[in-house]
Each structure stands twice: as C-alpha cells, then as structure tokens.
C-alpha cells in the first residue's frame, strides 16, 4: 500500500456499502471476505493473473482504421432499427409469429421450449428486462450506517414511513433521484485517494468480489475510446461530453417518452472506462437456440447488471463519478469494442469479444469514471488469426447472418454495422428476424465457438492455446480436432430446421450435479 490512505474509517465505509453484511447469496458465500479497502487492494485477486502466452500489444489484433471509424448511433443497431429495414408490417408479422410459436411450442411440449423452460427464463429475467434501477448515474441509495440510519434507510422507513403519508426515499421510483450528501452517504469525509495502479487493483478486487470474472480499463481518448461511446442511446437520448463536474441526464430515466433534445452527459474529466466481464454457463448455452440459451443470457445479464450497479455504488462511495449503461447493461457504450480495446479479449469473426479464457462465453458491462486508473493494454492470443481457420460460428448460424463465405473487408453489410475495422460483418436483419422465428435470442454462434468453454482440460491450457498464440501453423488441425472430439456441437440442421445439439435440452432438468448458476461446480 502506498502513502495514499483515506482518512475515513474503512470499516464503517465498508459497512456502509453492505459488504460485511452476511446473507447476500451464494455468490457472496463463495467469495473472499475483506475487512477494509487496504485488504482488497493487496489481495491476490487484485493482481491480473493471465496465462503466459497472452501477450500485451499496443494495437488490437483486427486491422482498424481509427481515422475512418466514428462514434456510432446505437439507434442504428438491429435491436433498435429492425422496423426501419423490414418495415413495420413485417415486424408486426414477426412478433405475431413469435407469439404463436411460443404458445404452440409450449402446447406441443417441444424440447427446449416447454412451459417449464419458459418459466425458468421468466425467473432469470428479473434484473435484466425487469427489476433493478435503470439509471445512467447509478443507484443512489446509500447511508453511512447501512440499514440503521439515514432518511433513506429501511429502519427509518419502518419507523416513520409506514402510515403511507410519506413516500419511501429508497423506493424503486426514487432510485434515480440523488439524495442530499451523496456520494458517501452524507458522511462529509474526503474522497478516497490512490495511485492509478492502486485504484486499478482496488476496483478489480471489488469487481471480483461482486461477481465479475475480469476487468479491463481504457482511456476515453478521442482517437479510440470515445468512438465506442454511442452518439445516441437506445432510448433516443443523445450522449454528449461536457465540461461539468458531475454526469447527469435530462428527461425520463427510462420508459418515458424521450424528446430529441434530451441527453446523457459524461463529464470530460471522466476519462476512464472500466470493462466488466462475467462468465456464462456453457452447460446451458450449448443447448441454444432453445430457451436454455435464453435463460442463460437473461440470468447472466441480470447477475452482471447487479454486479455493475454494485461496482458503481462502490466507486461513487469512494467519492468519484460512475456512469454506466442503464438498461440490459449494453447501453451507453459498445461493450465488446471497448473490452477489446481494454484487453479482455480479441475481436472475433463472431463479431463479439472472444477472450482467451472463456471465448465468447461471457457477457460484458462497463462503467465510466473519473477515478484515475492505469489502462490495461489490448492483447494478442492468436484468436483473430485462429478465427480465419475456423468459421464455426458462421457455418452454424441458423439464418446465415454470419456466413462462412463472408470476406474480411472494410465494407459493411448494412447501416447497423459501424465501419472502420477490417472484419467479417453480421447481417443484422437476418439475425434479429430469426430471433422472432425462434422465439429466443438464438445464441448458436456463441455455443459453436471453440473458445466458448470453461476449459478445465490440460490439453487446451498446456498445448492448444499456447500453440495458437505462438503460431497459426496448427490452427486448421486444432479446428478439425475440435470437431473430432465433439466439442461445440450446436449445429443447425437446415433440412429439419432444428438445432442439433449434443445435449438434449430437457435432460438438463434431470442433471444430478447441476453447477451453481450453471457454472460453479462446488458443493
């Protein structure tokens, strides 16, 4: 620990965040326990431990023309613009088809789409589409005495707010309304001070504690980092940088009618972007494109959303700005692009981040902050080179939104692609239209990727991955062996129009030793 120490009582500080409180679920039960921020900073998990064969590099591995690349409008991506490309009538037809298919398949008891499968998806959805604060500037509730004091605390509410005459300050409706004295819960103490290196270790350790697998940090410079911030957010608000002290937004927080003048403002002093990643369940996603893929996605986004809000609160309680995607955690910034810049992985043919540890078997979130942090560099683990010999995601894509014949080019397929990198490109119309047909968000590309696994086998860690990082000579061989050994078998059968997985979806319900979250096999 360096000379930069907070003058506040760290034990009280951590209490205020609720970190020391017990009973916050299985994830917490299996996590390390810290007593103060110094312990977090000096803990083993604060160090970035990665295999020796992952090299830090100055540039991302996919060729990119940064001068040609511009900030992109998220209203152009397919989640927001499908109707613009296929027309309102066609989209309405797809929505009807989706609803009919869902009902029909439930009635037919179709494997992977039964009522039991749908119910699991509905449960996993809490925290993603439903629940949690959906606020750019983060959840504001915090108090110096955790639940015991302050006008926003549960105890205050129980004593004074139960007659119904007083709105509870911490109610969901009030989540986005700043409380007096925030951050640091009205304690009026100096903010936390640390070197960028210490801060990186601190945030990494806290993020791990909250359930993130890895973090990366990049600077929001005008040449690269800022280009990953949307110009206009999913709900239509503009995202702008202003020379102000605190981030803010105008108009409704989420769900209301957004006027064109409304905006989310990032202070120019908030120069760092923290990319957060969280592992998905390969047990479940390998059963894509059924509802098993969807509830994996939903559960993962919900858990990561939860982790992101907690990291936001952590940084805000340290006394700094913490702005983040407020809905599905993918708003505000292009998280895969940002995570590629920040070294969590490489850009893959799949069009998503592929990390050396988990491939695309992960979901991403991010936080913009003015807490000074040491940036992490992009990496080269041979993934982009391997993608050229593989193309499994493209071969197995049900609607051929990704196709094996796709060239690596600067020419995009449509307005939904952000030009500037030399890559293969996703046909967003085919992809999003198939979602409605399948009634799910598909996920076959993720399930097919040879990197998408937890990789506990020595053969991958000792032989395959180091070889791929060192030379592309054996890439074709490794790709063939991946088939021979039966990995990543989520193949789409175009004759029967069903996805052939090695794993029977409904068998999942009878698995004897199902891991926690479908990931952590511990008793």
């Amino acid at each position: 620990m360096g000379k930069h120490h907070s003058t506040m009582s760290r034990r009280d500080f951590m209490k205020g965040l609720g970190l020391v409180s017990a009973g916050i679920g299985a994830a917490t039960a299996t996590s390390p326990l810290f007593h103060d921020v110094d312990e977090i900073t000096s803990s083993a998990s604060a160090e970035r431990k990665r295999p020796w064969w992952i090299k830090d590099v100055d540039e991302i591995t996919v060729e990119t023309d940064w001068k040609a690349m511009k900030r992109f409008n998220s209203r152009e991506i397919m989640q927001c613009s499908l109707a613009d490309h296929i027309g309102r009538t066609k989209l309405d037809d797809l929505i009807k088809l989706s609803m009919n298919n869902r009902k029909q398949w439930i009635l037919e008891n179709k494997p992977g789409y039964t009522l039991r499968d749908f119910a699991l998806y509905a449960g996993a959805n809490f925290g993603w589409f439903d629940g949690f604060s959906k606020c750019f500037t983060g959840d504001k509730r915090t108090s110096p005495m955790s639940g015991l004091g302050g006008s926003d605390s549960d105890m205050y509410y129980l004593n004074f707010g139960i007659d119904g005459t007083e709105a509870r300050p911490g109610s969901p409706d009030a989540l986005c309304v700043p409380l007096p004295g925030f951050p640091i819960g009205g304690l009026a103490v100096p903010r936390w001070e640390g070197t960028p290196e210490e801060n990186l270790r601190t945030v990494r350790a806290a993020s791990r504690f909250y359930g993130c697998n890895e973090i990366g940090v990049g600077e929001l410079d005008s040449l690269k980092g800022q280009k990953m911030i949307w110009t206009q957010d999913w709900d239509g608000k503009h995202i702008v940088f202003e020379d102000v002290d605190h981030g803010y937004e105008t108009g409704p927080f989420w769900g209301g009618v957004v006027q064109d003048k409304e905006k989310r403002v990032i202070p120019t002093k908030a120069r760092w972007y923290i990319s957060l990643s969280q592992l998905m369940s390969d047990w479940n996603i390998k059963r894509a494109p059924t509802l098993f893929g969807d509830f994996t996605t939903a559960e993962n986004y919900a858990r990561l959303h939860y982790a992101q809000i907690r990291v936001q609160r952590f940084i805000k309680a340290l006394g700094y700005e913490a702005l983040a995607g407020f809905m599905f955690i993918n708003t505000t910034a292009n998280n895969p692009g940002m995570a590629t810049l920040n070294g969590l992985g490489e850009h893959g043919r799949i069009g998503q981040l592929v990390s050396p540890e988990f491939g695309s078997l992960q979901r991403l979130a991010g936080i913009i902050t003015d807490l000074p942090l040491t940036p992490t560099k992009p990496i080269d683990a041979g993934i982009w080179r391997f993608c050229s010999s593989c193309s499994k995601c493209q071969e197995n894509c049900p609607p051929q939104a990704l196709a094996a014949s796709d060239p690596v080019t600067y020419d995009v397929k449509g307005a939904w692609n952000n030009p500037g990198k030399k890559s293969t490109w996703l046909d967003g119309v085919k992809c999003a239209s198939f979602w409605y047909e399948a009634t799910t968000l598909c996920g076959v590309c993720i399930a097919s990727c040879p990197w998408s696994r937890q990789d506990k086998s020595w053969v991958h860690d000792l032989i395959v991955k180091p070889s791929i990082a060192s030379t592309s000579m054996f890439n074709s061989f490794f790709r063939k062996m991946d088939d021979v050994y039966g990995y990543a078998r989520a193949k789409y059968d175009y004759k029967t129009q069903v996805c052939v997985t090695e794993r029977d979806p409904e068998e999942w319900w009878n698995l004897q030793d199902l891991p926690i979250y479908g990931i952590y096999k511990t008793n």
Binding site: R453, K456, S457, V459, V484, Y485, G486, E502, R503
Partner: protein, 95 residues
C-alpha cells in the same frame, strides 16, 4: 478435483516405488529406454485421466470418450511395450 489429483499422485508415486523395489528384488534389468517409455506412458495416462474427467465435468461426453481413445490407448500401448521389454530382458538374462 483435489481428490483426483491426490489419487493420481499416490498412484504414480506407488507405481514408481513398486517398480524400483520389484526390479531390485527380482533382479530385473530395466534399461534407460524402458524407463523413458514408462515415464512417457504414465504421463500420458495421467494426462488422459485429467482430460477425460474434466471433459465429463464440462458435460463433454464425446470428448471424454475420445481422450480415452487418444491419448489413452497410446499410453496403455507404451506401458505394455515397456513391460514386455523388461520381461524380455529378464528372459535373455536367465537364458
């Protein structure tokens, strides 16, 4: 997994100690290449077991079976060849 690694360590250790003890009491002539083949075979066997067990843990049944075929069978063949080689040396010594 901890138990698996403990078991593998014990099995490998016991095998080596047993072989050394057996070769000294029975006056077996174990050449350097027999040792080499045996060590490679044992390493491959440990490698096979680790890969197969973890593949099963990841619900990759085909992969688990394939690991038993390769490198599993190779390791067993090497073990048998090493054992036959030692036996052949002993026979030639007796005759």
């Amino acid at each position: 997994m901890t138990l698996l690694y403990m078991f593998l360590g014990l099995a490998v250790g016991a095998s080596v100690v047993g072989l050394v003890f057996f070769s000294s009491t029975k006056h077996l002539s174990v050449k350097w290449y027999d040792w080499l083949m045996g060590i490679i075979a044992v390493l491959l066997l440990v490698f096979t077991i680790q890969n197969a067990v973890t593949a099963l843990e990841e619900e990759q049944r085909t992969a688990a079976g394939m690991y038993l075929v390769f490198p599993g069978i190779i390791s067993l063949i090497l073990l048998v060849v090493a054992a036959l080689s030692i036996v052949r040396h002993r026979k030639s010594t007796i005759s």
